[in-house]
């Protein structure tokens, strides 16, 4: 039967990788702080969020060992973010379209013509 008592330490990440990730994270922090002081117009926010997502990926993949983890772990993580996305997207679909009555939707423009036909 299979060996039940022994269990290895799991994938061991070299110290060098941890230090590199650490330095990348610090660089990312410095970068996002520095860019905030530069006028990129509407691009400031997407740039800042992109940097944040990259930092998150570094932490998730290396510090949290997801790079070496099972598919099940990845599915679980993706589901978490996907469900958050559902909550944000569908809530925004209401909040941002509240005042759409003021600007007629395309079919409101066509309707008078249809009525005219019949």
């Amino acid at each position: 039967m299979s060996d039940h008592g022994e269990h290895g330490p799991g994938h061991i990440v070299p110290v060098g990788v941890y230090v590199l990730v650490f330095l990348a994270l610090m660089a990312g922090t410095a970068l996002t702080t520095w860019i905030a002081y530069i006028n990129l117009g509407p691009w400031n926010t997407p740039v800042a969020l992109t940097i944040a997502v990259c930092k998150m990926l570094l932490v998730v993949l290396f510090f949290m060992h997801v790079k070496y983890a099972t598919g099940l772990t990845r599915v679980v993580i993706i589901c978490g973010f996907f469900w958050l996305g559902i909550m944000i997207t569908l809530s925004l679909s209401d909040e941002l379209t509240r005042h759409w009555e003021l600007n007629p939707a395309p079919w409101n423009v066509i309707l008078p013509f249809i009525h005219h036909l019949f």
Partner: protein, 547 residues
């Protein structure tokens, strides 16, 4: 307790004695019973509120209480029944008891966490009881601001904390179940050999994990707003009351599927056992459980069609809400197909299951009226909605719960209850239920609003009919309490498999030993492999047993 000669073995009930062995247990079976005790108590509280409401409504001007008190009654009834009874009911009692046994494991993945989740649940119920005893909230179970955040003078924060804490308990339960089902199945127990009850509880646990945290943060925000007078949901300082509704219903709609999915799992077990026939379309039923869990998260806006949500979002949610009916319908078709040419017997669990199929179908179909934007504008806020969700939650979820309790009672206690009384109670429940809630469909259609302490005189006949039905229903609920408790002491010994059903839980003694199995099982066959009658060589011969 076990004083008959055949009960030779030590089982989970008599392995240890004393209150400490129960309050400090990590045995999932004992924890299931601990939950059973607490939720039965909470059911009586919520049921008492309902009794008072129905007594009050026999007269158009109200027969019993002041309008403010009536508001507290329907709020208490809703909160207790949803958060402290239905949400934990099947998962925490039958789920805790059965999941490890059904998958061939010794216990859940995290037994101490399991016990802790019971204590957390008790803490949540205690906070809820404190809120009730300090007068009760009058906001409705939906707690909509700005009333609940600015104007209500009732213990909203206490009740919100109770819900927060109870929710945390259900998160831990769901977590435990997901890990247990993924990681602790016995050798040979592949995903597609699992009982459908497990699939249903797995889907339910996904909702626990993904949805409950949102209600937690929502009641937290509500509490903070109420305590510190900040304006997250207050329009006067730029807040949006509808934001609360979005966050609230993001959980609370999937929550209703938390309440019905486990019951559907029970029904799958009951229908196949009492038809002595392999379930029709196993994988479709399994996938439909997952589909219900997933789609349930994208339909919540159908609770907000008339509260100020944009029409465009309403359209999206309406279409999606129609989609969620499909997997439920698939289940009903498959159960019916399982019955076809089965060898059906009508013991009490089967009566509950058959009742479920009829009543759940009615509840589900009336949901479509409410999912359709145009008709919902007229029906929302009326008794039509009340009847719809009671058909599902009482006619569906509660009957499934009772059916499951009756089916697995001999396994849990080792004793059999008197079937005649059980069938009588099931019939009384069915009749009483329909008498209570069918008139409410008519009332809603005629325009009687819900949550009103008074109503126009022309609605009195239907209201009285509903209240009369409620008293019959109450009798139907009390009878099982009596004979089930009686059976624990005086019922005949059940033996391993009193129903002759398939499933790992029926291979182990009744009651099971603490480690669930005398020898760890190895699974070699699919679920529900009932013996099939021999094929006839003369296909249409009268009187010849056919498959």
């Amino acid at each position: 307790m076990n004083d008959a000669p055949a009960a030779s073995s030590v089982n989970y009930l008599n392995a240890n004695y004393g209150i400490r062995s129960w309050l400090l247990t990590t045995d999932h079976k004992r924890i299931g019973l601990l939950y059973l005790a607490v939720i039965t108590f909470m059911f009586l509280i919520g049921g008492s509120a309902a009794v008072l409401m129905r007594l009050h409504l026999v007269e158009p001007q109200g027969a019993l209480v002041e309008p403010d008190t009536y508001n507290k009654l329907f709020s208490t009834h809703g909160i207790v029944m949803v958060f402290f009874f239905l949400v934990p009911s099947i998962p925490a009692t039958l789920g805790n008891f059965l999941i490890p046994i059904m998958i061939g494991a010794r216990d859940v993945a995290f037994p101490r966490l399991n016990l802790m989740s019971w204590y957390i649940f008790v803490a949540g119920c205690t906070l809820g009881m404190i809120a009730i005893l300090s007068g009760g909230v009058d906001t409705g179970w939906t707690f909509y601001p700005p009333y609940s955040s600015l104007y209500a003078h009732t213990p909203v924060v206490t009740m919100a904390m109770g819900i927060f804490v109870a929710g945390f308990s259900s998160i831990l339960t769901g977590l435990n179940f997901v890990v247990t089902i993924h990681k602790m199945r016995a050798p040979g127990m592949t995903w597609f050999r699992l009982p459908l009850f497990i699939w249903a509880l797995y889907a339910t646990s996904l909702i626990f994990i993904l949805g409950t945290p949102v209600i937690a943060v929502t009641v937290l925000l509500l509490g903070l707003e109420r305590l510190f007078h900040v304006g997250i949901f207050d329009p006067a300082v730029g807040g949006d009351p509808l934001l609360f509704q979005h966050l609230f219903w993001f959980y609370s709609h999937p929550a209703v599927y938390i309440m019905i999915l486990p019951s559907m799992g029970v029904i799958s077990e009951l229908i196949t056992a009492f038809s002595r026939k392999k379930v029709f379309g196993y994988s479709m039923i399994a996938f439909s459980s997952l589909a219900i869990a997933i789609i349930s998260f994208i339909v919540w806006g159908h609770h907000m069609f008339v509260t100020g949500q944009s029409v465009y979002a309403g359209l999206v949610f309406s279409v999606l809400s129609f989609m969620v009916a499909i997997p439920s319908a698939i289940k009903v078709f498959n159960w019916t197909a399982t019955l076809y040419k089965g060898s059906i017997s009508y013991q009490a669990p089967m009566l509950y299951a058959l009742g479920f199929i009829g009543l759940f179908t009615m509840g589900g179909l009336t949901g479509l009226f409410l999912a359709s934007l145009a008709t919902d504008v007229h029906l929302n806020g009326t008794y039509f909605v009340v009847a719809h969700f009671h058909y599902i939650m009482v006619g569906g979820a509660l009957m499934g719960y009772l059916g499951g309790i009756h089916f697995w009672w001999p396994k849990i206690t080792g004793r059999m209850y008197p079937d005649l009384w059980a069938r009588l109670a099931a019939a009384i429940v069915f009749v009483g239920f329909n008498l209570t809630f069918f008139p409410q469909f008519v009332l809603g259609y005629l325009g009687m609003p819900r949550r009103y302490a008074v109503y126009p005189a022309e609605f009195q006949v239907l209201n009285v009919m509903s209240s009369a039905g409620a008293s019959v229903l109450a009798v139907g609920y009390v009878i099982p309490l009596v004979y089930l408790i009686w059976s624990m002491r005086y019922g005949p010994e059940a033996g391993r498999n009193p129903w002759g059903a398939k499933g790992l839980e029926w291979t182990t003694p009744s009651p099971p030993p603490t480690e669930n199995f005398e020898t760890p099982p190895i699974v070699t066959e699919d679920a529900y492999e009932y013996p099939v009658a021999a094929e006839s060589t003369y296909p249409n011969a009268p009187g010849v047993a056919r498959v």
